[in-house]
Point group: C2
Chain length 186, copies 2
């Protein structure tokens, strides 16, 4: 059980407990939209025998400049597993599994870093490059269809919004966690 300084009376009218809020609507919509997009992605990528996560790895190795990861930091060398784990926000062990699938399918290859023998760097094979290129029109078709009807200024506002939120989440982690402390166990 929990206790916090209370904003609402829990015994009040059970129906309209929660207020309309544009901010909460935004956050819940982002969740919902991402979910839907993932489902659509899964449908497409399973036609080529991949999951959305595996697909995202290919996009990283294709140096897709639209990935938030590449906007956050420059990468001159080929990526390694731990960087993918960072970007996808999952464990390294999980990345190992995903990579093994892609290696088996001959879509990527792995080579040892000469300067640091702990590291293994990843690269698309020709087959992997072809796959990325061949699926690109379908991907961009959906994306452009979704975003059409908005002008450039609106799209920029939108992207700035997303990136500002991300920065807050990543750089001001402490601040976010301080909100959680509003939850105190009894």
């Amino acid at each position: 059980m929990l206790y916090i300084a209370r904003q609402f009376d829990p015994l009040s009218n059970e129906k309209e407990m929660i207020e309309s809020s544009i901010e909460e609507s935004i956050v819940l919509s982002i969740f919902d939209l991402s979910n839907q997009l993932k489902k659509i992605g899964d449908d497409v990528y399973q036609k080529v025998g991949l999951t959305t996560q595996q697909w995202l790895i290919l996009l990283h190795l294709a140096n897709n400049p639209n990935l938030p990861f590449f906007k956050r930091e420059e990468h001159s060398k080929d990526l390694m597993a731990s960087e993918l784990a960072d970007s996808l926000n999952v464990s390294r062990a999980n990345i190992t599994n995903l990579i093994n699938v892609l290696l088996d399918k001959g879509l990527i290859r792995q080579y040892e870093d000469k300067d640091d023998r702990r590291k293994k760097r990843l690269k698309l094979t020709k087959k992997g490059i072809t796959l990325v290129n061949n699926t690109q029109p379908s991907r961009l078709g959906v994306i452009n269809y979704l975003t059409e009807g908005f002008n450039d200024a609106e799209k920029k506002t939108f992207l700035r919004f997303l990136e500002t939120c991300m920065n807050k989440l990543i750089n001001e982690d402490d601040k976010i966690k301080s909100f959680h402390k509003l939850l105190v166990d009894i």
Copy 2:
């Protein structure tokens, strides 16, 4: 293997294969942000012994008006499992499991619909209502922090963008699927 009318030469320069595009940046950022938010949510909700999915069910049963589901359609009666499955975009079997956990914890209760005996409707218990109310300040704290620094017009543009995308995904499913047909097996 796949074949499509080719946009890029797969043998060309391996580095800058993919162009910068604000539209693709938006979609990839939405993914990323949703991911981060989910991780944060998982951290908070696991303190109260719930997963993000279970939490979302509670938000539905609290009739949170900010949920996209309630913006899409009015609901006068209490929700049933299949409606939750619709909203969360998962199978009914999955919802059964999630609901059983919440029933065990005494956060929700289930009653049979008098008019249609196939249906079981769901309701928060007092304990469930208290939990929702007690966690609300923490949730809203994070949400308001994330969205501060943008004015109301920008927030509205942003929300309209998200909702327009969702509508396209839901109502114009055929159109989306037609893009996938750009992928043709050899």
